[in-house]
Amino acid sequence: MNLRAKLGYTAAGLTVLAAMLTPFLLYGLFAKGFVALGFHVDEMYSGGPKLRTVEKGAYSIAIHRAVVPHLLQTEKPFVQLDWTPVSALPAHVSDTVDVDGDGRPDIRVSFDVPADPKAQLRVNVEPIDPLNPRYQSMRDVGKDGFSRLIVRVNNSILVRVPLAHPS
């Protein structure tokens, strides 16, 4: 048997060993290695990182960083607001929110909170200053797109408000 053949059999033996180690070692090792690479899920899905939280008595509103679409993504830029916990929300929510953190409210968000968690949600969003072109108004919107929706996720109600321009 020449050297190439010996190397071939050695590699084949190691491959059989790798197969045996897959469920106990390799699979977990590769999965952890992948996590360690530090990727993150596209913010179009995740909504982007939370910037700050505004307390509103029994509940709070989390304000996320504005999400800007990539290259040819069809969605508009948006900002996500989370109302948490759902159990503490009144039957009708109508809150003004200072989205950009300048101390002045930017938009008024209104929606009903049905008792049935599977019921469709609808939201109205109006800019406080109609001359402010940054926030687009929404009338009776449900789940029109990733940048324009109201949904219940876990113990929060998420509203995504489309932005005319992200900055």
Binding site: G8, Y9, M44, L71
Partner: protein
């Protein structure tokens, strides 16, 4: 005394005793893989695990006894293809009441991640460190505790061991069309232009670039035929309805009708971008299929038997399969002169091919039991739940 009886024109057959001896490691492996279900509180899952373990051991024993691979592997693979949708659809229906993925589930990162989008994630991840998939990254995330990292880890480990053998021993979709291709005795369509073989590469290139441009897993959203038997984006508008229509049409055409007409795995051969991507890793795998020119006639029986057109007259003349070879063993079993052989890279062709086959099969079958076996067990448990 164990013997090998090699009849002219037939693969090597073993004595029952030697076949049992060779199967013993797989028995131990099955006990290791399915033994944990015996401590499970779900009695039906225990039974399903036991049935699957016995099933996989019997198939391996038959491979050892008869010296053939393809038809026994096919039993496993078709079972995997048929039972995966049963277990998966039951799971999603139980958790969310629909096969459609609602936008809430995507935002929550609970979309189950299958292996198909892996090549589509590479460029967006390389350029922006962003994964264009609405799932959870952590291994225990996702809808049923299987995040993106878990599937990537599993795929990488299995791919390192068997290369494109993934498409014959791990893919939980390909079994449906392999089952369809097994139905007719003879193909109605015999002549297929070999240029169709390049189409998966074109689909792969188009989908990878589109995924980068649109920042979405374009194949999953627009072209995956298996959405018809797993899950799809819940249609919110006309575009969604068109997408779902495309899934159903592609499934009916590529996974049902064409395999029945051609006896080939047409989706895998002519469309699947993941299959094309996986072909690249065949170069890294130590196991391959070779053709011994000193024994080859050539009668092209192997070429006709290949379910994904991975043999051509030119490749046979060169003594090798094309890089798209899925290592299913159909060509090896079809050759009446044992000219088509399992091979370990670096070793002389036709030098102890049965040793190469054994080493490959131990690796592939161990992984098939670990990954596919657990899916089969889940599918059987679902059926038992319905029956009970």
């Amino acid at each position: 005394m164990a013997t090998n009886t090699q009849l002219p024109g037939h693969p090597a057959q073993r004595s029952i005793g030697r076949a049992i001896l060779l199967t013993l490691p797989i028995v131990v492996w099955s006990l290791l893989m399915f033994g944990h279900t015996s401590g499970h509180s779900d009695r039906l899952l225990q039974i399903a695990g036991a049935i699957t373990g016995v099933f996989m051991v019997i198939l391996f024993f038959m491979m050892m006894r008869t010296g053939t691979t393809y038809r026994w592997r096919r039993w496993f693979f078709v079972s995997l293809g048929l039972l995966f949708p049963i277990g998966f659809i039951h799971n999603v229906m139980a958790m969310r009441g629909s096969m459609g993925i609602p936008v809430e589930e995507m935002i929550a990162g609970r979309t189950p991640f299958c292996f198909m989008p892996i090549p589509l994630l590479i460029l967006p991840a390389a350029f922006t460190r962003t994964l264009v998939f609405p799932g959870s990254i952590v291994p225990a995330g996702g809808m049923s505790g299987s995040g993106i990292a878990a599937m990537v880890g599993l795929w990488l480990a299995i791919t390192l061991v068997i290369g494109k053998g993934w498409c014959s021993y791990a893919c939980f979709f390909g079994g449906i069309e392999e089952g369809m291709a097994a139905v007719p005795k003879r193909p109605r369509i015999r002549k297929i232009d070999p240029r169709w073989r390049y189409l998966p590469w074109a689909v792969l290139l188009a989908m990878v670039l589109l995924s980068l441009a649109l920042f979405e897993p374009a194949y999953c959203i627009w072209l995956c035929p298996f959405k018809a038997v797993s899950e799809y984006i819940a249609a919110r508008n006309t575009v969604g309805l068109v997408q779902n229509g495309i899934f159903v049409l592609l499934f009916a055409g590529l996974v049902v009708a064409l395999p029945l007409l051609t006896k080939k795995r047409t989706q895998c051969s002519f469309f699947c971008p993941f299959g094309a991507f996986q072909s690249i890793f065949n170069k890294a795998s130590i196991f391959e299929v070779k053709i011994d020119p000193s024994r080859c006639k050539p009668c092209v029986l192997c070429q006709n038997a290949c379910p994904n057109m991975s043999l051509s007259k030119e490749s046979i003349a060169r003594g090798e399969a094309l890089m798209s070879c899925m290592k299913c063993g159909a060509c090896v079993d079809a050759c009446p002169r044992q000219a088509v052989v399992w091979h370990i890279k670096g070793t002389p062709v036709s030098w102890k091919p049965e040793r190469a086959r054994l080493m490959f099969l131990y690796s592939a079958w161990a992984l098939a039991i670990m990954f596919g076996g657990s899916i089969i067990a889940q599918g059987i448990a679902t059926i038992l739940h319905f029956l009970a």
